[in-house]
């Protein structure tokens, strides 16, 4: 369990670090700009919203733990 937690923590830190690096290379590069461009695609927007909603469903309404 600790290994899995550490792995996810490293991924979260990596997201922040890449954001910082990108901002240093160009002032106008932001995560919001990234999401704005990605989510102009209706197909991708639907996928992201479905994933977002399912996370809420999974942790609040559905079965959470397997096994």
């Amino acid at each position: 369990m600790i290994a899995s937690g550490l792995y996810f923590a490293v991924c979260a830190v990596a997201l922040l670090v890449t954001d910082r690096i990108a901002r240093r290379s160009a002032d106008e590069v932001t995560i919001t700009d990234l999401f704005d461009r990605v989510l102009t695609s209706r197909t991708i927007r639907l996928a992201v919203l479905v994933c977002w909603w399912w996370l809420g469903w999974h942790f609040l309404a559905g079965q959470t733990v397997d096994g």
Binding site: M1, F35, V38, T40, T43, L49, V65
Partner: protein, 211 residues
């Protein structure tokens, strides 16, 4: 190929021989997301979570149908962009409900389903053809690839953990659900999750305006 910069933005540091305004979203981009949805649906089948499997697989079918349809077909209604002054109060009321209602209850379902429908209504409209004109500056493209790689790495780890649990191969395997469950069992943890989840939803619903 047009060389104009997006209005109001400065140029990037450094020098590039490519169009500084950047390339457009590759045509295969949305198809990869469709593949992701299909994979998640398949994993939910392995977990015997039929509702989740149906949700993701249905979404994949809808996405595929939308992608193969010619751009000029269908309606071209503009997206509804609600102001924060509208979204935040709604999110606040929903947060109270999601924080106080018992998890896995019918009442919780009764709150979540309308929220999903609202998100779908706000997120679906839009001219699919217009997305082909969105430019990607090189620095933003690099950030996108980096984030994609990290999310894929996290997703593959999660997939491995889920399969190990479901196949009984490793008792130490811990998907994200197992890690968060202890916190969500407490009212405070449930409230924090509800707030973060709703704020993420507000953030996502306000994105997607072509620059």
């Amino acid at each position: 190929m047009s060389g104009e910069h997006p209005a109001g933005r400065g140029g990037e540091r450094g020098h590039s021989s490519r169009d500084p305004a950047g390339d457009v979203l590759p045509a295969w981009g949305p198809w990869t997301w469709l593949l992701v949805m299909a994979i998640i649906g398949a994993v939910q089948l392995v977990r015997q979570q039929w509702f989740a499997a149906g949700l993701f697989l249905l979404a994949a079918v809808v996405m595929a149908a939308d992608l193969v349809r010619r751009p000029e077909e269908g309606s071209h209604r503009s997206r509804i962009h609600l102001r924060l002054g509208v979204l935040l109060p709604v999110a606040a009321v929903a947060a109270v409900a999601l924080a106080l209602l018992p998890r896995h209850s019918g009442a919780m379902v009764a709150v979540l389903v309308p929220l999903g429908m609202v998100a779908l209504v706000l997120g679906w409209p839009g001219d699919r053809a217009a997305t082909r004109q969105v430019r990607w500056p090189p620095a933003l493209r690099r950030l996108a690839w980096a984030w994609a790689a990290i999310w894929i790495a996290g997703g593959l780890w999660e997939l491995a953990q889920v399969l190990l649990v479901n196949l009984g191969q490793d008792p130490a395997a811990a998907p994200l659900s197992d890690l968060l469950e202890p916190a969500l069992e407490h009212r405070a943890g449930q409230a924090v999750f509800a707030v973060v989840w709703l704020l993420a939803g507000v953030y996502l619903l306000r994105r997607g305006r072509a620059p």
